[in-house]
Amino acid sequence: MGKVRTHIYLKAALLTLLVFISGVAIGWYLDETRVSFVKSKIDELEVSFSNLALEEEFYRSVATDSKTLCNIYISKANELALQAGKLGSYLESFREISKFGLHNIESLKDRYFILNLQLWLYMRKLREECNYNATTILFFYTSVNKCDDCIAQGIVLDQLKKKDPNKYMIFAIDVDSKLGIVNALKTYFNVTQVPTLIINEKQKLEGFVSKQELEEITK
């Protein structure tokens, strides 16, 4: 009685498959682009940082005025820390939307943490050698489990950094990272919960801390 237009359905199914595959391919391509984008940024930062450290060592060896050196390197390191912070937020948001290249993002995250902690140690050194009055904050968070307080804490730290970029040096650390240095820091500061903040490597604050409280503590 009725006609079933099978040829139309077959063609439509084929076209659907084509569009679907193209969609997935674009998604996969975007994931790869994200990975190479972050990778090139990390490469850049790593080179900049090594260069910075090398430069400083050279000038110190030829004994230029140490006060001038301090000023130059503090501002340069600040700039790097700022860029690293931005890269960190890229990494976290890419992590959420990447479907096919997540393992690559995760391994980049390791490189990022290592770079970040190198920067932290460098800032520590500058602080001591130059009598530089900055506050370093180590921010322990988790990205594996849902942690609303971590996100809120992140926003608060961003606000502080924006308000006074030269005063606050913030280094975010994912407690779920398998890196040895992260484990060492966790053990050393006895981090048992998230979020945890370590102010100037001395004071430990557990749980969410509001902007006002933080400003009060670091005054």
Binding site: I8, I97, K99, E106
Partner: protein, 420 residues
Amino acid sequence: MISNKLMLNYWDYVTFATSIISFFAFFTYLLIYLENRKKVFKDPPLPKKLPKVSILVPAYNEEKTIAKTLKSLLRLNYPKNLLEIIAINDGSTDNTLKIMKKFEKYGVKVIDKPNGGKASALNAGLKIAKGDIIVCMDADSVVSKNALKHTIGYFNDPKVGAVASSLKVHKPKTFWQKMQFVEYIYNIFLRKVLAFMDSVFVVPGPFGLYRRSVLEKLGGWEEGNLTEDMELTMRIQKAGYKVETSLNSIVYTKTPDTFKRLIKQRIRWYRGFLINARKYRELFLNPKFGDLGVYTLPLYIVFIAILFISIASTIYSFYTMARDFLLINLKAGIEMPEINLNNIDPPYLFMSVSTIFWLANIVIYAYIFFISMQMSKERNFIKGFLTYFVQILFYPFVLAVSWLMSIWKEIRGAKIKWER
């Protein structure tokens, strides 16, 4: 390190599944359209010997619109001696009958009967009608002059049992009427494509044509059915007749102007679908009824499911946003986010697979809407598309609410109140 390379969540799978179904529907319609592109606007020529046509106009409290409806019918381009107009007053409590009587001097026949519903009024008209072609014309609609000239020719094919017209919203004024304007335009495309697939399962009340012999053989309109037009069309399809539609026969119909009235109308329509789908369940997935059975009717059900899933997902993401706002942003202190596009370089990097599929969906349905505009001879594309984009934001919610309420009422077995 994460061992699982593919990180797809529930939302991604829903997006993939619904996208695949909607891509498939899109390509089916597009291919059918392309296959028949040349005959889309072509209506079969009128027969040498024109048939006698009877137009039935059932009316219940339509004093505001009945005069316009009858005037438009009197202006129809068709030999007067072959045209019979029968106005049926279905126990109106307003001036409908009085206005009808004024048209008697122009040859309009008037039947006055106690209230019994639209189907009973149509059947009463059918009893005295002399035409070979019976036309149902809602008393809230206005027909274009050449409507009969474009539709009668379809009956040259003895297998054709009914012919539908192209329905447009009459002078859309309110927001909700403008939303329906877009919907009706889209339906003009859909009905034509479905006609090429012998799959039209509703000939709408405004200007639907039927072969008299088919009507008599099948026993006229079913009284007490919520959507008697759909019931009759499904019966005609089941009996193996064809249902056609003409893009050149245009009818303008009055549509609900407020949200409340719109919802009320939709509950009647959708509940009518549920009732008639159950009544004609043997049509579903039955290859005996061709594309109607294996594709059109099942897909309609699937689309209702997709509608619910999309709405549920949207509500869930709004809930998550609200929750995040309360638990995170309020806690951290609200600061206006810096909107600086240079920060996001390059912006497309922030697109996920799901976003790509949603964008693709919006694009393909915009394209369908473009073809629909052409088919319904609407020229104002800018206005049309602006309305379309507003419509996709609001309208799915209205449809979902109506479907939910219809299903709820049907499950509870609420008493059927027949209202126009």
